[in-house]
Symmetry: C2
Subunit: 526 residues, 2 copies
């Protein structure tokens, strides 16, 4: 069966940590599936051993891609029914200074493999990889100066409003009946897609790869469960060694009416079991949050305008929360793409001040139908620079904000007779406890608090949202705190003179979009 | 017992319709209750007969106040255990041109007694009658040029933030124990209060008289049920003949923790049975709508930020809806008084475009604590003139807008297997039908439509709210329609050239606060 595979010639014998060590073999074209090729390589490095399956890359070429996370000497050995056993070795060098390895959920936040905090500030260009080269190049130029470090993007092409063009390439060859043959990946499609992931890596951007979505006219949304698993197998073999990959199992899973909860479980468990790197893995919804308590889900990927519920989601799921679609800044007729720039900036602040993360999208109409949210191109909205202002602030504060305790953390289902013991005589709380679910939700929205601590509690950030209050009280500790007034839209930071301590009354500008940053001036006494 | 009561001297023998014909008697001071005085007058006019109880007005004076709604000759006859029977007559002349009689709920809207439509555009100054004369005078000067035609105002004084001063007068004398003697109304208080109602009548403003409220430090919120009924009896005897009176049984009834549902029923039924004029009667809430299906409730008086639910409330209660507190324009620290001027204008438009009515309030902080919402004084906010712009428009359209049909009028409780028959194959609707109450509410909020017809369907008003869409489609009938683009903040109306018919695409400015008015240019063909 083998074609006298040569040794892996011309390959680097050294690789930097978190980059890809690619082993290439030559053989004959597979007679059966081009996905389920019987080729595995066992990589052994300092104290660690990993089995990586290969994939067929066309023209008799087989590739195995591995991204080591440990410096030092590595050896490898192939195992295949159709290729001769091959062994080799390479050295894994320290990572480039700006490469920190795959991102993983860590508590209610994210970190790279090397421990560097990652605070996602994502944007959305679902179909950018399916566009002509000039447009792809323009998107990359835009991303190079935009404030985003994660990009939501679909594998499959997109069919919906403003997305009627036919992609140049499709992910699979067709079978004799004209259906998709998921066992025959169409290689130009995949070469393009992975080059786009590499482009993003060069820009320091995580590729939030959306594996399924409902906005389809070609049949990718209705593949059989078995075909889906084959497709996922190929994605893992081909793409998982890229350090900047995230898996978004679906966009709007609850609009994929041919999929069952068992399908999603099967897919999620398959990825979880077969991704050697444990990339972030979640499922994005239309109306109903996915069940993020599933063990294979690493974080919450939510579509919701209810940004006031962010802290509750953290509590409910005990996983990091990204609101991946709080609606988009834009001017289209569809209700999901009409936010004012200020409103999207407001939703970012609200989400982050409740300990979550938020994702941008822009839907300004153009006659050529190149809307950023789908096809990429240029940004022209007002929110992006303000999101950059916020990102710089969050990174200055260490990137992991946790919400201050909620005044109204009552569980309405338990509370009929049981407000917290020390508040049992608080008639207001007893009235709250009588509310039904909708009444309770409205109350929570109306009284939501947007206030968060830096992880070491050396900073307290308070956002007043759309309130026009001209006065606020901050309950600071008895240490000395410096205070700054921030204007989230005008991107100003104004340091107040002196320091403050304990309960502090502040004068505010009396308009929407104001925040206050309190930083501890010197350590607590004790 | 009687003191040779003279005939009702010095009284007009003629009165205009809807004004007050007052009959005065003299006797000795009551030995028992000063409220439950045994004096009634039966008034007989053309085809009508009414019994009106009197009240004690001090110094041996007893008054009976009657407001006739029928022109022509009226006679009256007293009935009393302590006054001689007296008879008299007077003539009821046509009403002044600007006097239309008491307002009543009519279907889902309001009309005066003479059939004139009344579209409430209210404001709020809870404690204005309890302020010093100079401040009262300033409030009246402000109201004279403000766009409001209803004023929410409490009988009892107010004790809460920004309301710590002691009123000059209280409504009752004290009894020997220092408690309130509700049988001894303190007359200077009531003379002042009814003069304020008269002041409002002169300005064409309805007095939405709040009979109970929880923000109390004097004990008025905790009177016994029996005492409350005595107090209500006095209010009715003394105030009900004023054509511009409304009864708001409570402000924030669900924060009055000493009151039971049976109390509210007793009070509502008492007023309903004893108010000869059937003035509007409702109960305003803090968190939970009152049960507006009670037969004695004439309309819904709601506190809620959920303006998107207005059309649903109309449907649920089948009564006119006034959102009497959608929060206030202001800059105070309390979350209910921090709205931007634009947001309050937006809430007015949203409410009215769903067939409801909305009430203004202003809470800009001042060092002298004279905030409009409680004490009156001056208006300084940005919403009032824009509310005037909207009021003029609504009145131009006849004052009774009814919402266009809702795309998503599914009852989520019924819909699990039953979207409307012609939509049973609509997968989106089937997904919607799976939502829980909170999810459904969020969806409704996100897709709420703000579009209403003039009652004869000769005009269609569409409000795009906070959407920045630059395009809209209107589904007009096949008649010819003229179109105007309105800017709710800048108060501009821009007529588009020509006419439109059928499904019409419109270019919009692409910013928040835009509306379109379509008016039928000529009658339908048929």
């Amino acid at each position: 069966m083998t074609d006298h595979a040569p040794p892996p010639a011309g390959l680097a014998s050294r690789v930097r940590k978190f980059e890809i060590y690619e082993v290439e073999f030559f053989g004959v074209e597979p007679t059966g599936s081009h996905v389920e090729v019987d080729l595995e390589v066992v990589f052994e490095g300092p104290g660690t051993r990993t089995r990586i399956p290969g994939f067929y890359a066309g023209n008799g070429r087989y590739l195995v891609r591995f991204s080591p996370a440990t410096e030092g000497r590595w050896t490898y050995r192939t195992s295949s029914s159709f290729l001769e056993e091959t062994v080799g070795e390479f050295r894994c060098l320290p990572a480039r200074p700006d490469e920190h390895g795959p991102v993983r959920a860590e508590g209610l936040h994210f970190q790279h493999d090397d421990g560097t905090v990652f605070a996602p500030f994502g944007t959305t260009a679902y179909a950018w990889t399916h566009q002509p080269p000039e447009l792809i190049a323009q998107t990359l130029r835009t991303l190079a100066t935009a404030p985003f470090n994660k990009l939501r993007m679909c594998v499959f092409p997109k069919s919906m409003a403003y997305n009627s063009d036919e992609p140049a390439e499709q992910p699979f060859e067709r079978d004799a009946d004209g259906g998709w043959n998921v066992h025959r990946p169409h290689l130009p499609f995949w070469e393009n897609f992975e080059n786009r992931i590499r482009d993003l890596a060069r820009l320091g951007i995580q590729a939030d790869v959306i594996l399924f979505h409902p906005h389809d006219r070609w049949g990718f949304a209705t593949l059989s469960r078995e075909s889906c698993l084959t497709y996922l197998d190929y994605c893992l073999r081909r793409l998982s060694a890229h350090a900047n990959v995230w898996w978004s199992l679906a966009n709007e899973y609850d609009m994929m009416f041919d999929r069952t909860p068992q399908d999603w479980d099967a897919f999620g468990e398959f990825i979880s079991a077969n991704d050697p790197y444990g990339h972030p893995l979640s499922v994005h919804n239309w109306l109903e949050n996915f069940d993020f308590t599933k063990t294979w889900v690493t974080h919450c990927s939510i579509q919701s305008s209810a940004v006031h519920a962010t802290a509750q989601w953290r509590t409910t799921y005990s996983k990091p929360v990204i609101n991946d679609e709080c609606r988009y800044e834009g001017d289209i007729e569809e209700p999901w793409g009409q936010l004012s720039p200020f409103e999207l900036v407001h939703r970012f602040w609200a989400t982050i001040l409740q300990g979550g993360y938020c994702t941008h999208g822009e839907t300004y109409y153009r006659d050529d139908e190149i809307l950023w949210w789908a096809k990429g191109g240029e940004l022209r909205g007002g929110s992006a620079p303000r999101i950059g202002f916020l990102r710089a602030l969050v990174e200055e504060l260490g990137g992991m904000l946790d919400p201050a305790p909620d005044r109204f953390a009552i569980n309405p289902n338990d509370a009929v007779a049981a407000p917290p013991a020390n508040q049992a005589d608080n008639l207001h709380l007893r009235a709250l406890a009588r509310l039904d679910a909708v009444g309770w939700e409205r109350f929570r929205e109306g009284t939501a608090k947007y206030q968060a601590y830096q992880s070491d509690r050396a900073a307290l950030l308070t956002y007043f949202g759309r309130s026009c209050q001209s006065t606020a009280h901050l309950d600071l500790s008895e240490d000395e705190w410096t205070l700054e007034i921030l204007d989230v839209w005008n991107m100003t930071r104004t340091r107040l003179p002196g320091t403050s301590s304990g309960r502090t009354r502040l004068a505010l500008p009396g308009r929407e979009g104001i925040a206050v940053l309190a930083r501890r001036a010197r350590p607590a006494a004790q």
